[in-house]
């Protein structure tokens, strides 16, 4: 390939500037997005192509990502932004399949009780909907050389693991393929779920176990009782020889972390659902410069911050002018006018009016 001559680049730059001058204050992209939202150069988006029900409360969503999708490694996750009741919500989901030949990506979602986004994706999502994406991320991936591994998965925590296993052992109509590149992987899966039918991807796991690709140890709370991590060494006798990959709720991961640290076993964990935030009364409000102020539940964050010497943008101080808005990086706030609660998980950056919002839990303001 020959390098592009500098003059061509300069000409292109100039052309871009002319087009920008023709569309200001909007950008050329604002117009292009009307017709080609998935084009190269656009903000990363995707279009839902298919929604497959997996169980009564779980579905796999197949998404065609925009042209700038950089690909992923099985086990990584993707942050997806979707409008629910008109409000953009971002959540992270595991990429279930390894890279597919058709360039689509898929996520498997379990509708959790009170889960606004998961319920929407499982029950309301329709083909054709445009969603917003971030590039795949996550360190929860297997070393390509192989080795001995233990997967501990709980509930929908099975999804990143399924992504890895499908990539290692593709499932076809004629059975599970045993590829040479996967020969050096010795895998045990301890899959935990409340009851058997509730376990998504169980059929996949069973098929893999039957084909001898993995050794499956299912643990159902109603049959075996709730798992104590100390039992793991009984369930997996060579536990100490294996690197453990665990995905599930925070409580399980914390218990595993303590257990493995004491035993000196390697552990990689993945947790999607940010620890559940509960609206309380007041809390500490942190700012980017490290300032932390204690706020009660009845005083606007604006007043609390100003009293502590933080230089805050402000305006009408009565919720009218939106001159005081700042991104809530993470935390819970209450609208003092009507008690409405706004929750931001890390990375959500929900923009709030500080003059009528009081802390309802620990908050981090991006300011």
């Amino acid at each position: 390939m020959t390098s592009t001559p500098t003059s061509t680049l300069m000409l292109r730059d100039r052309l871009v500037r002319v087009v920008e001058a023709a569309t200001t204050p909007l950008l050329p992209a604002d117009y292009l997005d009307l017709f080609a939202p998935l084009r190269s150069g656009a903000d990363l988006r995707g279009r839902i192509e298919e929604v497959h029900p997996e169980t009564a409360d779980a579905a796999t969503i197949v998404i065609k990502p925009g042209a700038d999708w950089a690909g992923h490694v099985p086990g990584q996750y993707v942050r997806v932004g979707i409008d629910v009741d008109g409000i953009r919500q971002w959540r992270a989901y595991s990429l279930t399949h390894g890279p597919r030949r058709d360039g689509r990506i898929s996520i498997t979602v379990k509708a959790v009780p009170d889960g606004l986004v998961s319920t929407h994706l499982v029950r309301e999502a329709r083909a054709g909907t445009i969603v917003h994406l971030e590039q795949a991320a996550g360190e929860f991936v297997l070393p390509p050389a192989g080795g001995k591994f233990l997967f501990v998965t709980a509930g929908s925590g099975v999804t990143p693991v399924i992504g890895m296993l499908r990539n290692l052992f593709p499932s076809t109509d004629s059975g599970v393929l045993r590829l040479p590149r996967s020969a050096d992987f010795d895998i045990v899966v301890v899959h935990i779920a409340p009851t058997e039918p509730d376990s998504i991807f169980l059929s996949d796991l069973k098929a893999l176990a039957e084909a001898g690709a993995v050794h499956l140890v299912p643990r159902y709370d109603d049959v075996h009782g709730v798992l104590d991590v100390a039992e793991l060494s009984d369930l997996v006798p060579d536990l100490a020889d294996r690197a453990t990959f665990a995905c599930g709720p925070g409580g399980l991961l914390d218990a595993l972390a303590d257990h493995h640290e004491a035993a000196g076993i390697e552990l990689f964990t993945e947790q999607f659902r940010a620890s559940f935030k509960v609206a309380g009364d007041g809390g500490t409000v942190a700012f980017n410069d490290g300032t932390e102020v204690v706020a009660d539940g009845a005083t606007p964050i604006l007043d609390v911050a100003e009293a502590a010497g933080v230089l805050m943008p402000s305006g009408c101080r009565m919720g009218v002018c939106f001159g005081c808005v700042l991104p809530l990086r993470e935390g819970v706030v209450r609208d003092l006018r009507n008690g409405e609660i706004t929750i931001a998980n890390d990375g959500d950056n929900v923009v709030i009016q500080t003059c009528i919002s009081a802390a309802a839990g620990p908050c981090h303001i991006d300011h």
Binding site: A21, I87, V320
Partner: protein, 410 residues
Amino acid sequence: MTTIQKKADNPIAHLTPEDIEQIGIELDAIRQEILDSRGAADAAYIRKVIDVHRKLELASRAVLLASIFPPAWIVGTAGLSIAKILENMEIGHNILHGQWDWMRDPKIHSTTWEWDMATPADQWKHSHNELHHTYTNVIGKDNDLGYGIMRVDEDQKWHPFFLAQPLWNFINACFFEYGIAAYDLELGRNLKIPKEKRSEEFKENARGVLKKIRQQATKDYLVHPALSIPTGSFLPTLAANFTANVVRNLWSHSVIMCGHFPEGVETFEKASIVGESRGEWYVRQMLGSANISGSKAMHIATGNLSFQIEHHLFPDLPSNRYAEVAPKVRALFDKYDLTYTTGSLPKQVYSAWHKVVRLSLPNGWLAETNVKNAPQQLAKLYKLTTGGPKVRRMIEANDRRQRAAAARAA
């Protein structure tokens, strides 16, 4: 008009403090109803309007590439005028109010939006959202009243300078976006300050405005005309863009005049808002605004500022919901025996202009003048205009004595 506090028949004198508090509670409840039902349909509405605006603008500008042909000029100019009106009113104004912030879409958000207007969004948000919406119709606090260049109230002393205010108002209407930019900058006040003493903030804001004007003018008066050169349409496209800007300016000026200027809208004294409660703020918004009645298309073209009363009560509710709120608000006016000022567009525009003309003349002059006494009245006006402050005070004192005598006789 005179501030509500000085009126002999103060229209809110009959409200008890409990009434005012109750009005606040009832309006909060109306607001909450909308918040509770705000959702996907509203989001779809604003996205649709934005979609229509962008496609209409693209199509109109494409047609104008051949604007040398008169039909293309007419169609393109009409389309572009409508697009610019939509962009400023239903889209820009309302997004910058934070009406759509709840969607958490960074592309449709008060903190990121920029509009096709001489004044940068940030500066406008300060002067409009913060000052005008907080201090609505408070003489001396709300600069939207006459934009600092007009006499808007009988209580303001008349000066011959104001004779030209109908002309100022018309020129301001034609170039409204620049008028707004000058007003957001408080240009009049700042230009009086010697250059070296002007604040850094003013200088930075002025640079911002000049940059914005340069960008907008480059687009409308250079780039798009230049793109039309292949068909020989440079000048026609330039004229089309100029026309569309003037049409948009005249339209937005008319809508905004109708919001706070027609007869029946009250003004307030500065002292009256010290320690104002939420209920009192609501009452001031109720009486300080006027609506325009009309079709759905008219409402959209005004950015739903035809529901100016509802907009001032709930500036952050999505504009497409004002129509639904209006009957409930009106019922509240009736319940508390308050005047809900509304009228058709021609009626309200006439009323607002009539007031501009009336106040350009000394108090009472227009009302007292008829065909019979016109020569004497004109002679008096000539004396008032040319005579200096002493003569004006003498004539005004004389008028007051005559009016008092007439009142006694009656």
